[in-house]
Amino acid sequence: MHTPGRHGPSTLVFLLPWLLTFGIFALYPLADSFWVSFTRYNPIQGPPVFIGLDNYARLLRDPIFWTSLRNTLIFVVGTIPLTTVGALLVALALNRHLPMKALFRAAWFMPTIVSMVVISLVFKNFYSPFGFLNAILSLLGLPGHAWLQDPDTALGAIMLMDVWAAVGYYAVIFLAGLQAIPAELYEAAALDGGSGWRKHWHITLPLLRSTMLFILVINTIRSFQVFIEIFVMTRGGPLDSTLTTVYYLYDRAFNSFELGYASALAWALFAVTLGASLVYVRVLKDRGAA
């Protein structure tokens, strides 16, 4: 491919500002939490006490951890395809010459600019028995429902909210990715008589591979860490049906002061997230080679 830069020292200059903040404010806390995951640590009692793999052994036997991991996986698997496909379609639509395109773009992005805490509070109000959603349903002659109070619908309701909030955000990133595709490629395809969908399938998608990988990995990481929604809307209930792994580890850390165990839970989640990301990299790389 291209010749790698031979100007060694200049690479360091490119990296230096990041290496500094990364080392101090990212790597150090990361290493610290990794060490703490092998300890029993309650700051009120004193410094961490090394206990080897006890936290990890406990985690494997902890049914609540497995419940939380199951809920988290449902959340990830349920939201990511919807968000990704939705965002891509919206980006392709917004990339055309439309009337009022600035308005459309801003509108789709609007949910993103409101903080997740506020969005969660708004939707908590929406989903409430006498809230906005049931009011609309009753206008349409449909029965209402206690969405967040039913173990069968609570997680789904939160997932739907998340898709709503995320589609516009990822659409904007797709939109930026679309700009890196040279227009000549489309012109060539048009000369060959390629239709709209074929054009996207054969040109847009392969060239968006890097953006796609970025969006999938980022969205997966964020979805595995779903927390604020749960913290504000359900606190894990009813009957642990919305208990996600990060909410569970938050509960262990700040309600039970088990920072060691909470860190072990965090690193277990890290392993799962890493595994999922590696799958994406493998799949999308293979596509690229083919």
Partner: protein, 417 residues
Amino acid sequence: MIGKIMRTMSWLLLLPAVTGVFGCSGGSTPAGPITVHFWQFWEADVVGPILTRFEAENPGIKVQMKQLTWQNGREEILAAVAANTAPDLCELGSTWFGRFAADGALADISAETDSLRARLRQWEAAMHNGRVYGVPWVLGTRAVFYNKRLFREAGLNPDLSPPDTWPRLMEAASKIHKPDAGTYGFGRNSGERYVLFKKFMPLAWSNGGDVLSADGLQSVFNSTENLEALKFWLSLKSVSLTERQDQIDQAFKQERIGIIQSGAWLFKTLPTDAPKLEYGVCRMPRPDGNNRVNRSFGGGEILVIFKNSPRREAALKLAAFLARGDNALALCRVAKSVQPAAVGMENDDYYQANPGERTFVEQLTTAVFPPNDPSWQEMENAVENWVEKAMFEKVTAEKALEEADQEIVALLHARIP
């Protein structure tokens, strides 16, 4: 073009270095008077004037106050303890106090608080193993709110028969309950931690039941009294809206619900959210019978001094000042959700003029304050989990009590080394 951008950016990046100088001045301690660092949860405009008065009365002491958030106060305090930057004086909820006291983070102030003993109540909430580790500041409890209009429409006289006994509660709730018309008899909690306990246990306590034995060493959760209470709680399903507390409060404001158990925070929001609502307040329901008392959940805010504080004397002075009747009342009048821990406040003109809030002060006298057991939160979780499972009909009432009892026993055993 690019060069211009770069120049602008380098200026912007210099900004923190410049502004950082201003920033530092906020954190430093001036020489001369002692500065007490005080962390608490109430709004600055409520507590601020009280602190100003304290500084005027104690010229040698300055107070630096940080307002904690109710949602994230736990993180703030725990991080500070971990970094050894905890404040001198800190407000802790009574459910938290037990852990901090048991883990040895707090200063033993038994001797210094002798003079305060007679003036404040609920010292049990500030004690651990017979020693005092805090000063009770303000207390809170739960009581019953009911919609008088809905009572009258159902053919009941709300003033003659307030829903403060089980039969009266059930009768009123059944008559009001018309779910097809969007009106519910009673509001029953579920779906969130640390709330259901405060609504279910009052029934059990009023029926003579409890979680732990009086000495705190044994579980007494699997009892006939608790079973009766749980069965009553489950039987309320047919006349209830089962929801989270904020939704129940909201439905009450929308006049869709006849009777709810809630906290005094409603006094703050009812006037602006539902100015036309005509409501009454009574104590938590008890079963019929001569020796049955209307019991409720009691909690409090405790002022604690961290063990490493070098300004213990000044911090203690501030704690005593804050807990003093007039100062605590000044806070409670605005905050509404709590009442002073100072003795004799029910006779104050303020509570005489506000019968709803007075009911809370009276309810406090028969409220049950959970013991300061280090694993109390886990025990509360066990009770809530199993009661909720019974509410969703995953297990029978008997089974729920049995399982919760076993979990509590296990927690008690785990402590024996």
